[in-house]
C-alpha cells in the first residue's frame, strides 16, 4: 500500500470528517466516531 494511503494523518482526517458529518445530522454514532478519534490520538502510546 502506498505511503500516502497509510499516512498517520489519513485515519485522523477520515474520523474527523465522519464525526462532523454525523454531528451535523444529530446522529448518536458521532459519539462512537469521536471515541475512535480519541483512541487514535494515543498512537505510539503503549
Amino acid at each position: 500500500m502506498s505511503r500516502l494511503a497509510t499516512h498517520p494523518l489519513i485515519p485522523a482526517a477520515l474520523l474527523s470528517a465522519a464525526a462532523l458529518a454525523l454531528a451535523a445530522q444529530g446522529h448518536a454514532l458521532t459519539w462512537a466516531v469521536l471515541g475512535g478519534l480519541a483512541g487514535y490520538t494515543l498512537s505510539g502510546s503503549v
Binding site: M1, R3, T6, H7, P8, L9, I10, P11, A12, L15, S16, A19, L20, L22, A23, A24, G26, A28, L29, T30, W31, A32, V33, L34, G35, G36, L37, A38, G39, Y40, T41, L42, S43, G44, S45, V46
Partner: protein, 173 residues
C-alpha cells in the same frame, strides 16, 4: 495474535464505556444547560492543553503493559495487552482527547448503548494504529511520520470534538 490484540482493545473499550455510562447517572442532577456547554468547554480546554497553551496535569496510570505479559503466553498475552490498552486507564494517556471523551460520556447523559459504543469506538481507534502501521509496509517511516504529526492529530481531535459536541448537543438546549 493481532486479531486477539484487537479483540482485547474492543473489549477494554467496551468495559470503560459501560463503566462511564453507568457512572453518568451521578451527573444527571446537573441541568443539561450546564452539562452540555461544559462538555464543549472541556474539549476546548483539551485543545489548549494539547497545543501547549495551558499546562494542566491530569491523572494517568504512568506505566506500560509489562513485556512479561507477552512472554508468558503469546495468545493470552496479546488479548490482555489489548484489553489493558483498550480500557484507557491501565497505561500512559499522552493526549487530551480521551479525557475529553470520558468526561463527555460522564456528563452527557446518553443512553447506555451510546456510552458502550463510544468505548468500543475508542478501542477501535487504538486498533487502527497497529493495523495501518503494518499496512504501510515501512514501520520505521510510519513511526517517523507519526512523530511529526502526532501533536497536530491530538489538537485537531479536540477541535473536532468541540465542534461536534457543540453541533450535536447545544441545539437540544
Amino acid at each position: 495474535m493481532l486479531t486477539l490484540f484487537v479483540v482485547g482493545l474492543l473489549a477494554g473499550g467496551l468495559l470503560s464505556g459501560l463503566a462511564l455510562g453507568l457512572l453518568s447517572g451521578l451527573a444527571q442532577p446537573l441541568p443539561a444547560a450546564g452539562r452540555y456547554p461544559m462538555i464543549v468547554a472541556l474539549a476546548l480546554l483539551g485543545l489548549l492543553r494539547d497545543t501547549g497553551m495551558v499546562r494542566l496535569p491530569v491523572p494517568q496510570n504512568a506505566r506500560q503493559v509489562p513485556q512479561e505479559v507477552l512472554r508468558r503466553n503469546l495468545l493470552r498475552g496479546a488479548l490482555q495487552f489489548g484489553f489493558e490498552l483498550g480500557t484507557g486507564v491501565r497505561t500512559y494517556v499522552s493526549a487530551s482527547a480521551p479525557y475529553v471523551l470520558a468526561l463527555a460520556v460522564f456528563l452527557g447523559g446518553q443512553p447506555l448503548w451510546v456510552a458502550a459504543l463510544t468505548g468500543v469506538g475508542f478501542g477501535a481507534g487504538r486498533a487502527v494504529t497497529p493495523l495501518i502501521r503494518l499496512a504501510s509496509g515501512t514501520v520505521e517511516g510510519w513511526d517517523a511520520d507519526l512523530r511529526t504529526w502526532l501533536r497536530v492529530i491530538a489538537a485537531s481531535a479536540c477541535t473536532v470534538a468541540a465542534v461536534s459536541f457543540a453541533t450535536l448537543l447545544l441545539p437540544r438546549l
